[in-house]
Symmetry: C2
Subunit: 432 residues, 2 copies
């Protein structure tokens, strides 16, 4: 079972530090292989994609790299009605939430007479990576594609590996529902390279988002700068702060819903009641006997899970800020008051009726969130990730007269003569 720590124990600080810094992922030596794959795709384009896909995914995609619309229609038709309705509900709710994120353009005239402002515009084209196999989640398609479309991205290209030609029909259905414009039968570093540099078939994009394995992550790092990328996600994590008034089994299942993702996932309970902590640990042990993904969840709980008993909820808030968790459940009497005392978390789930899983699917906020304590300085995926801001400045002769001399002075102090001259020539004309 996961360890039980008490904040007043001797050695708590060291044990807590170990939880914070636990290395939860191997960094396999993939970077060199990825560099070779990217170079190959840049040099040989589609031919490289076909060859690499035959090798890694054991499927021949020559002449059929792109998934035809008819195949997506068929997938959509094959999805059972309940799933389809759930996907539509999720897409609608995610869209409604993200529409509120669309930033406003601004323009104003200041007291010097300068007109200042900014303007937001979408990227022209975005690429969405969707893993194949076990982690091929239709919910991730929605969470990446919907914000891009809300931002106004005109062209959204999705790439996904289809080992032996197989693809989860729900993934294709989600792509259609979310408004994905193109689906390509290619994955891995080769797909990222194609999106970044383009091939004869796949036009290049400006921004690439979406989760992937170590090869995909390494490829995203390598093409960063040529295109924009989202953050590189680490293993997922949840911190649950719960008082004794909760049902221990609810809390145990909430912890396991994180642990079942991945053996590297991390689930931690902080409670102010030791008896309750013990009861949750027992409930976890019981659930680990029966749940389908008990091997994965059990490994996660054993290696990275913990129950932390603290003196009071203030102490819990401090621990939360030190963990800066991706997901934070506040299963307490007054969750708003507790939330107000916490500065660092990707997403907060308030109150006993808000299991984190609703946020994975249908609540509305994005489920792509900062992991590995990066919530200290970064945010979940949003509409802003698919837009960029252009600043605007318009000087009148009068406003240049008012503030130009200061620019000249500073330019001179930085020994940038032409900077100063570009202002001085104009001022000279005004003073003529």
């Amino acid at each position: 079972m996961g360890r039980m720590l008490r904040t007043w124990d001797h050695g708590f600080e060291a044990a807590f530090e170990a939880l914070l810094t636990a290395k939860r992922e191997d960094a396999p030596e993939v970077d060199e292989a990825v560099a070779g794959i990217i170079a190959d795709v840049r040099a040989r384009g589609d031919a490289a994609l076909v060859e690499l896909t035959a090798r890694f995914d054991r499927v021949d995609v020559a002449g059929r790299l792109r998934v035809p619309e008819g195949e997506i229609d068929a997938a959509l038709a094959a999805v059972p009605e309940a799933e389809l309705a759930a996907l539509h509900l999720a897409a609608e709710r995610v869209r409604a939430y993200h529409e509120r994120q669309v930033p406003r353009d601004e323009s104003w005239e200041d007291e010097a007479g300068a007109t200042l402002g900014w303007r937001w515009t979408p990227v022209d084209a975005a690429g969405l990576y969707v893993p194949g196999g076990q982690a091929s989640y239709p919910s991730s398609v929605l969470m990446n594609a919907v914000p891009a479309k809300v931002a106004g991205v005109a062209r959204l290209a999705m790439v996904t590996p289809m080992p032996e030609g197989r693809v989860n029909p729900l993934v294709l259905a989600a792509a259609r529902i979310a408004g994905v414009d193109e689906v390509w039968r290619v994955g891995g570093a080769q797909a990222v390279a194609a999106l970044a540099y383009g091939t004869a078939s796949i036009a290049p994009v400006d921004k690439i988002t979406g989760p992937g394995n170590a090869y995909v992550a390494a490829a995203k790092r390598r093409v960063f700068g040529k295109v924009g990328i989202d953050s590189i996600a680490g293993p997922s994590e949840v911190l649950v702060i719960a008082d004794a008034a909760n049902d221990p089994d609810w809390v145990a299942v909430d912890l396991m819903s994180q642990a079942e993702h991945d053996a590297s996932a991390q689930a931690i309970l902080v409670t102010d009641d030791e008896g309750f902590g013990t009861a949750v640990a027992a409930a976890v042990a019981a659930r680990l006997e029966t749940i389908e993904r008990r091997a994965v969840a059990g490994a996660s709980w054993r290696d990275f899970g913990a129950v932390i008993v603290c003196g009071n909820l203030s102490e819990a808030a401090e621990l939360a800020d030190r963990l800066a968790p991706e997901h934070l459940e506040l299963l307490v009497e007054d969750p708003d008051a507790l939330a107000a005392r916490i500065r660092h978390a990707g997403a907060i789930f308030l109150g006993r009726w808000t299991p984190e899983a609703v946020g994975d699917y249908v609540a509305g906020p994005n489920h792509v969130l900062p992991t590995s304590r990066t919530a200290r300085f970064s945010s979940g995926l949003s509409v802003l990730d698919f837009m960029k801001r252009t600043t605007l400045t318009r000087m009148t002769p009068q406003s240049l007269k008012a503030i130009g001399p200061a620019a000249e002075t500073l330019a001179r102090s930085e020994s940038l003569e032409a900077h100063g001259l570009s202002v001085a020539l104009r001022l000279a004309q005004l003073n003529r």
Copy 2:
């Protein structure tokens, strides 16, 4: 002189592509050295900083790593009045602009009864890198520090190398004016490592911004993930779109104000009048005889500069979007109309009275902007770079009843049983 291209010439496309893709910087093999420096600072902390600073900056900082407040007071007192007034004006205008960027928190109840929203909070601590030597610009101190302080960053630590112990007093003055909390006498990769990992003297920060040489850039790349970083800036660039109604010398000086930054900088004129283009080229040649930094500006103009003659302003707008320039001057009759047709630029300067240099110092918008065509997908530095968003979800029993079943359905379709259970247990209680 820079080349002259006409859009209707045979070979224009190839020549324009070459301008777009010109490799404007060496990528020296610094990465290994930087890895060693970071490891050394992590292992030995302040002792490594002192030793590396003695080696690289030829100054002994043992016991005096931090610049005392008295030394900053003295620098402030030594700055001539005109410079001080200009710095204050710049800081005030930059602050006023950035205060408008502070994002709003939102919270609303949707039709299902769920309370959704988000909350923005500043990072706890930020680090600002300021180069020493020739590129030690007080304006950059303001442009990085003011947004951090407007965001509400409680602790802003500045690092800057002081070769032989020397520092530009204007840099210290700008730090004081902008509200920097700590100034440290250390630069290079070792300073970035100290900010990211902390030493006995320098507490770690959450976000590092600011320009630097290849070692600093490599160090920022390496610590990314442990802390947030701003974008890695490439050499600066300007695109000027000008019609024949301009004074060719104004345009020439505007081009040179970019070229004088760096031999790798890029200055391009696009005009719809060939005679005007020729006149600007001649004016550039004349200015290159006299300006102080003519060696640098001349190399930049020779290697990366260009005058492009096009048929009309629509064509100019298309070229601008392909270049996605860091700075874009629109020296035309109706700059607003032209700006509305351009999607990709870091900053737009509208009209004949708006030389780009006002934006470097006093206009208000940030001068840290996306270079090397990254304006296709990224934005200049802003208050948002020092903040992060936490999403908020609160379900009631009724709203969980309404949307929980869809979450259960999708969890089951993704084979994530505990996810579904976390909803199902709560719904079972409601239906009991």
